[in-house]
């Protein structure tokens, strides 16, 4: 009951500016308005493009020795050479490709599993919700690392297995987020209206629920990619990755195994680590910017300790 006469009407609905997520091109709006999102997306795209063009742009073949072991950076080799005399830059580019493939693929699998479970649990509730959530809880509770070790040990090390192991670690967060969102959307008046009109569950899920949780899912996906890449690096570093492939994690691992540190060959370790860090940061910035935009009230505090500006007298106004 009562008219919505609160300040948010005066602040946000000036020209009927929509809350982010409530119209088609919300992503473009987030990009336009957030420097953080712009940088994050730019870095992300840069890495993706480089990875895509890897076979064409890597200066040297990654299997051919081109110089002495652990040669320091020079004009021909800006990142030096590794323990096998192979150009580090080429390794980084190639490694980035595989790392990102693993990261994105694992995220996709996690999204599909987690999203599916979250959707079913959130929408249908009841015993399906109970069962699915107990399963989810079970997976949350199992410690990540021992699980990864055991699966890798039992299953063997290969990229595909790596992808699935990482997905196994990631899907639970998605499941819980999706479930919470779906539950809340399900209670919205327009969904109830559709149901009372007799719309089928499938129709409601595809036309009302999924579009509404789309933006949040997107933010969650981006953030999950960051974690997936980190997990890949960590698992590779621990020797659980595929030793035959070249990933950033493997690069670091080999460097450690092959005494790069004691040789003083920092270029064999740090650039790869930096790449991982940059990629993760880019994902975080983009994902967080989307999340913040979806929840504008996080940014504006109405009655807050931060105070207003008082203009000196005899002014017409700040303009």
């Amino acid at each position: 009951m009562g008219v919505r006469a609160d300040m948010s009407d005066e602040l946000l609905d000036v020209e009927g500016v929509p809350a982010v997520g409530e119209s088609g091109n919300w992503f473009l709006r987030v990009l336009r308005e957030s420097r953080q999102a712009q940088i994050g997306l730019a870095v992300l795209l840069l890495f993706v493009i480089l990875a895509f063009l890897a076979p064409w742009i890597e200066p040297y073949d990654v299997h051919t020795r081109v110089g002495p072991i652990y040669a320091p950076p020079s004009i021909h080799h800006p990142f030096g050479l590794d323990d096998g005399g192979i150009d580090m830059l080429s390794l980084l580019i190639q490694g980035g490709r595989i790392s990102m493939i693993v990261g994105f693929a694992a995220t996709l699998v996690a999204m599909v599993i987690g999203g599916g479970i979250g959707l079913v649990a959130g929408y249908f509730g009841g015993w399906a919700d109970g069962v699915l959530m107990r399963i989810t809880d079970y997976f949350i509770v199992i410690p990540d690392l021992p699980l990864a070790i055991i699966v890798a040990a039992v299953w063997g090390a290969s990229l595909t297995h790596l992808i699935f192991v990482i997905a196994l670690l990631l899907w639970t967060t998605t499941a819980r987020i999706v479930r919470a969102q779906v539950k809340s959307v399900r209670e919205r008046v327009y969904v109830k209206r559709s149901r009372s009109l007799g719309a089928s569950d499938l129709r409601i899920i595809f036309r009302h629920v999924l579009p509404q949780i789309g933006p949040l899912l997107m933010a969650n996906t981006v953030l999950t990619v960051a974690v997936a890449i980190f997990d890949e690096t960590a698992l590779a570093f621990l020797g659980l990755g595929d030793p035959t492939s070249i990933t950033w994690g493997n690069i670091i691992e080999f460097a450690f195994l092959r005494t790069a540190i004691s040789s003083g060959a920092w270029w064999a370790v740090i650039p790869a680590g930096l790449c991982v860090a940059l990629m993760i940061m880019a994902c975080f910035w983009l994902g967080q910017a989307i999340e913040d935009a979806l929840n504008p009230r996080l940014k504006v505090a109405y009655v807050s300790p931060r105070v207003f500006r008082l203009l000196p007298p005899m002014t017409q106004g700040p303009r």
Binding site: M1, G2, V3, R4, A5, D6, M7, D9, E10, L11, D13, V14, E15, V17, E33, V300, A301, Y302, V303, S304, R306, V307, F308, R309, L310, L311, P313, T315, G317, P318, R319
Partner: protein, 326 residues
Amino acid sequence: MTLLEVRDLHVWFDLSGSRQLHAVQGVSLDVDAGERVGLVGESGCGKSTTILAILGLLPSSASVAGEVRLEGASILSPEEEVARPHRWRDIAMVFQGAMNALNPVKTVEAQIVEPMELHGTAEGAAARKRAGELLEMVGIAPSAGARFPHEFSGGMRQRAALAMALACDPKVLLADEPTTALDVMVQAQILELLERLARDLGLSLILVTHDLPVVAQVCERAAVMYAGEIVEEGAMERLFHSPRHPYTRMLFAATPDLYGDEDVLSIPGSPPRLDRGIVGCPFRSRCDRAFDRCERERPVLRWVEGGGSAACHLNDLPAGASAGST
């Protein structure tokens, strides 16, 4: 004696893309001791922003100009040392939806004691005793103070919010839509309580609401706001029986009366955007008596017959003249 003076208050809010929303456009208001004044308007007119400005509770995206004086002393300032001593001790507020904003993990009594201790008017056992007295004043048994807000009904929570506002014995009480979400009977109880408290405690009351009949019942005087400014102000009786601004007249006509026979009006169109400058009268696109002067010139508040003021060019026309003759 004028207790609270608001002079030419302006509030701008920053919007994305370096635009600004001119939410309050030159509001002036006087409130005497013991007076009950209504601030009436529909959503977006700036009434809530106005009283938040009086208390100095605007966010950092706000720019403010103008003056607010309490008993002669200027209290409008971002400096906490200027504004804070008056908050709650001189001016207190019951916020919109206050009954839903009570702290769920503190007892009601603790929440009434809190402002007393924060503002140094009482503490410990003395504060708790006063909390009990306040609860009784608002019609709640003092022993209920040990309960938590979720154990109270909506009406009781609103009373508790009222008790919190009165904790430091203020001179002025600002109430923002105090009965909006309440049932008719509970609303009647709260309004009667407000009236009684105002009288018994000698409080000045500014009642902000969109509900004209509520203001008609509780307040002696009211200011009608539209598009960020006061368009008419005066005694409730004059506003109802001879309004001097078309918006006031149409607003009354849009409010159904239980027993009346006249048609209930609606006002076509919608309020102007406040992120752009307004040329001419802000109400002209919806007014049934607008004429050419209304397009060019923005009316200012002027004294009108019968007391009070109104901002409308029609009042400048000699009696009997039609709007066509300019």
